[in-house]
Amino acid sequence: MFKSMLSKLLVVVLLISGQAYSAQSNDVAAQEKGLRIAKKAKKLDSGWGDSQSEVEMILRNKHDQESRRAIRSKSLELKDEGDKSLIIFDEPLDVKGTAFLNFSNPIEPDDQWLYLPALKRIKRISSRNKSGPFMGSEFSYEDMSSFEVEKYTYKYLRDETAEGRECFVLEYYPVDKYSGYPRQVVWLDKEMYQPIKTEYYDRKDSLLKTLKVTDYKRYQGKFWRPDKLEMTNHLNGKSTVLLMANYRFSTGLDERDFSQNTLKRLR
């Protein structure tokens, strides 16, 4: 009697630990699969050299009051370092000519410079923060900056159809402790290897924002770029839409176009 109970108990313990073990190995497998997918996404989207686009930003509060901003964006792809990007502000008019230069570093804080035309000075900004609202919008600079594999660790969750498309669902965990989110859930389209939806979770692991990326078009036969990004903040009910226009690739930009000295000459 006692023996049979003991043996049953033993079986149960073995089963549980076996499951725990397999859960652990599943975890490792999910992380590896996540990383593989992320690497593939980066690989498929590399080789564009440089690009330019125009962005219209529409901010909306709970009561549908709207506000508009307009910027231009230029990016340069670099082989062994993070990408370089330049943002030129056009609207509102009182910030026209302000330019923001960013050298993306995978682990270290990005290098950032800002040119203020009203002050006629270039200021280097030393801040670990890139999670605050970009121009008062629901996007942070972090949300808009280029994707680098090293910025996150990954976990593959499942396959799922979202917005009528087959997707991988992945979790991204930012490496930078100054990131605004400990966790993101990303729906990555299986065909494009581009995100069509991202959920951002805040420090208390509750859903803070949802990004929906739509109207993808293919450029140069391989680079997928969206026309519309919509970010909704669930905490304050505000939302921001980015309308992208006039994507251009291989426009002949080089590192000299992304130096501090060029900032003053932009307009």
């Binding site: 709207e66 506000s67 009182d94 000075r121 280097r124 030393s126 923060n129 609202p133 970009f134």
Partner: protein, 777 residues
């Protein structure tokens, strides 16, 4: 109908019992749907202009519900490694608070400074582990000199500090959300106190206030209700000396309460801290009905009638009076519908309904219970009370010539004290000193800054208008002027940020601590600043989406409500005079309460007067005489007035709770008058007694019952005075005072007035010393 009611209880007790049971079960089922709301918003109607202004403010900027951790190091110095570590830990943990959107502390304050052409933006305390004495002194100097922090997050002496957590609760299940937040922050506090025993941590803020509301109401229900039942039991037991009577009375009270709560639930009305007092009030009023029936029944039984006949006789004598008194009491409570505060309307309706239910059950179920249960009258008539009544009535009849002018004069003097009362409805003082929320808030008021705020939205009407140098200058001028007011502890304003950034962008040269000169420069500073802030510490709580308006928040020292209203007027007038081209809107929770209590007093006065106008003709009709209707006005009106005069001596602060007392007590006060006068008139008309004899008769027949009910009512409302929720406690004390005054008026002034009035008309008849006392035994 009358006959049916009279007979149902006595002749068919079991049928009545069964029918009542079915009715009770059906209605009380609804109690399951009762929900409790303690959100401070329940005090305001949807249409309340201050609530709407506040909602607009929250919609444009962000919600300002908050939990504040007040940190008081025992060493008296915040700037030590240990205490900065504590604040750092607390800040980190506070981000985990459910629904939190922002945490502000001196450690995560985004300190900006310049090194050459570099602008550095970083947490004021990046890592508390590596702090040395020199760095801590630097941090102290920065913190206490930064207008954003000083007197808000850190005292100028550096001895207390605040960590402020802003929460945005979705409000889908408000009570649960409140509990989630409060449980979590208390857990943080307890954990930190264990790790840092040399510090006190207190919790305050709007969320904690709502929590305090809920907990005070809960405590009342857990402690005051049972106490109330006990007191009623003891009072009836001692006064009437009957166990069956006591139990039956309590049963009727429970039934009336349960049915009322059930119907409230069926109707989907939620309970609030004020309306949670309804059960205590219903219980109190029910007892009065039953006492009248019981005393009369015993009286009849002693006369030799058998039990059932005695019950029948008692009902017959009392039905009309109980109905009238119930109806007038209900009317009085219904006058609370004139209140601008929804919970008081609910309270009035609930008690009014409960009173009518109590009437229904005390003339049906109550007799049925008495008929079924064994009951014996106390052997002797309650001698001491009759003796007391005889003493009082002899005294009154003998001295009415002196009593009439002297009581009137005394009361007149007290009435002159009424204007000494002043409006005060500080929501901190809704709780008594034993409530931790109040303690924490007052401590904060003493050591750091008050809790009251006025939030000003300065609106330019054009997109990016706040970057206009003229507007920034206006914002600065207004902010600096606010800082000169002695009542203002702290001003949170955008102009400080502009000045600081301008200094930073000029290599931290103090000479540049001034407003930027051009619109573009200001706009570009803001762009730069916003880009370098972390999530949760942005400017969206100060600037709206198209940068056309900004919010300036003035934190005020603790002050009475009327001063707050004066300050609001002063500040908005100042702005309108100086900057007519800009729009200023003021709003805050403090202002909402200040306005509503002022408005509430006016509308409650109107409501009480209207109720009285309704009640007086009823009384006139009942007594069949205009003259006595007019006479009844005096004893009906005086008690509330005198009570407010006495209040001026006791506390002199009038707020939400007190403004409804007149309406509430009106019915009860009228009851006393009705009972006394109707017996007086019976004696005069049916028994042809002289005024003096009629007064004796009244004292003998209703005196004891009035005396009992007053004792029970006063006991009941004084128990409410034990509530930690001061709105209810004050209401209890005032009601008790009013009821005592009413009895004094009915025992001293009213009979004197009746004798005098009836003697002026007819020739005075000589009164024989002893013939006046009418004994019925």
């Amino acid at each position: 109908m009358r006959e049916f009611i009279l007979k149902s209880g006595v002749r068919r007790p079991f049928v009545t019992l069964l029918a009542s049971l079915l009715f009770i079960i059906a209605t009380s089922w609804g109690a399951g749907y009762l929900t409790f709301k303690s959100d401070s918003r329940v005090f305001f109607e949807e249409s309340n202009p201050q609530l709407q202004a506040f909602d607009r403010m929250e919609a444009v900027y962000s919600q300002s519900d908050n939990v504040a951790f007040l940190i008081v190091p025992k060493s008296g110095d915040v700037f030590t490694k240990e205490n900065l570590s504590l604040i750092y830990d607390l800040t980190e943990q506070a981000w985990q608070t459910p629904y939190s959107s922002r945490v502000d502390s001196i450690t995560n304050y985004q300190h900006t400074f310049a090194t050459g052409d570099d602008l550095i933006v970083e947490d004021l305390v990046l890592d508390p582990e590596v702090l040395d004495t020199q760095r801590m002194e630097e941090i102290r100097a920065i913190a206490v000199n930064e207008p954003l922090l000083a007197k808000r997050l850190i005292s100028t002496e550096g001895h207390v500090s605040l960590v402020n957590v802003t929460v945005q609760m979705p409000g889908t299940n408000a009570e649960q959300e409140l509990t989630d937040v409060s449980t979590f922050v208390r857990q943080i506090r307890d954990n930190l106190l264990e790790k840092y025993p040399n510090t006190e941590i207190h919790l305050t803020g709007l969320v904690m206030m709502d929590v305090a509301f809920a907990e005070a109401a809960l405590a009342d229900n857990n402690t005051l209700m049972p106490l109330m039942f006990l007191v009623v039991m003891v009072a009836i037991g001692l006064l009437l000396r009957t166990i069956t009577g006591t139990i039956s009375t309590l049963l009727i009270a429970i039934v009336a309460i349960v049915v009322t709560l059930g119907v409230t639930g069926w109707l989907g009305i939620y309970l609030t801290p004020p309306s949670a007092a309804a059960p205590i009030m219903i219980l109190t009023v029910v007892v009065a009905d039953c006492v009248h029936i019981l005393t009369n029944m015993f009286h009849e039984m002693r006369k030799g009638f058998d039990k059932r006949q005695a019950i029948y006789n008692s009902l017959e004598h009392n039905l009309k009076a109980i109905f009238i008194t119930s109806a007038t009491t209900a009317l009085g409570f219904l006058s609370m519908n004139f209140s601008d505060v929804p919970p008081f309307q609910d309270l009035g309706n609930m008690v009014a309904f409960g009173v009518m239910m109590a009437f229904l059950f005390s003339v049906t179920l109550f007799p049925a219970l008495l008929a079924i249960l064994p009951i014996k009258p106390f052997k002797q008539d309650v001698k001491e009370h009759s003796g007391l009544m005889a003493g009082v009535s002899n005294f009154v009849v003998k001295n009415y010539r002196i009593l009439l002018p002297s009581t009137l004069f005394a009361m007149l003097i007290i009435l002159f004290l009424i204007p000494r009362n002043e409006l005060n409805d500080r929501y901190v003082e809704f709780f008594d000193e034993s409530v931790p929320f109040r303690m924490a808030t007052e401590l904060m008021g003493k050591e750091l800054s008050g809790v009251d705020t006025i939030e000003f939205s300065i609106e330019t009407g054009t997109a990016n208008g706040i970057n206009d140098p003229k507007v920034i200058a206006a914002i600065e001028h207004f902010s600096e002027w606010l800082r000169t007011l002695p009542e203002v502890d702290h001003v949170n304003t955008l102009s400080d940020i502009f000045k600081r950034l301008n200094k930073n962008m000029h290599g931290d040269d103090p000479a540049w601590y001034k407003l930027p000169e051009g619109k573009e420069l200001a706009a570009q500073y803001l762009l730069l600043y916003e880009m370098s802030l972390p999530v949760g510490l942005d400017l969206n709580n100060q600037i709206n989406v198209d940068k056309s308006s900004t919010r300036v928040v003035a934190t005020l020292e603790n002050m009475p409500t009327y001063e707050l209203l004066e300050l609001e007027e002063l500040t908005t007038a100042w702005f309108a005079t100086n900057y007519p081209e800009l729009k200023l809107e003021a709003a805050s929770i403090s202002l909402m309460f200040a306005h509503v209590s002022k408005k509430n007093i006016n509308s409650m006065l109107l409501g009480s007067v209207l109720a009285l106008l309704l009640i007086s003709p009823i009384l006139g009709m009942v007594m069949g005489s205009v003259k006595y209707g007019v006479i009844s006005l005096l004893p009906n009106l005086l008690p509330a007035g005198v009570a407010f005069g006495i209040w001026a001596l006791l506390s002199a602060e009038v707020g939400l709770g007190l403004s409804v007392v007149i309406g509430m007590t009106l019915g009860i006060v009228v009851d006393d008058t009705v009972h006394f006068m109707s017996k007086y008139l019976t004696a005069r008309r049916e028994k042809n007694m002289s005024p003096e004899e009629a007064v004796h008769y009244s004292f003998q027949s209703v005196g004891p019952a009035l005396w009992f009910t007053t004792v029970v009512l006063v006991a009941g409302f004084l128990i409410m005075a034990l509530s930690t929720y001061r709105v209810n406690a004050d209401m209890g004390v005032m009601t008790a005072i009013t009821i005592v005054i009413a009895l004094l008026v009915d025992f001293l002034l009213l009979p004197s007035l009746l004798i005098a009035a009836d003697k002026i008309r007819k020739d005075p008849q000589p009164v024989e010393e002893n013939s006046g006392i009418v004994t019925q035994n």
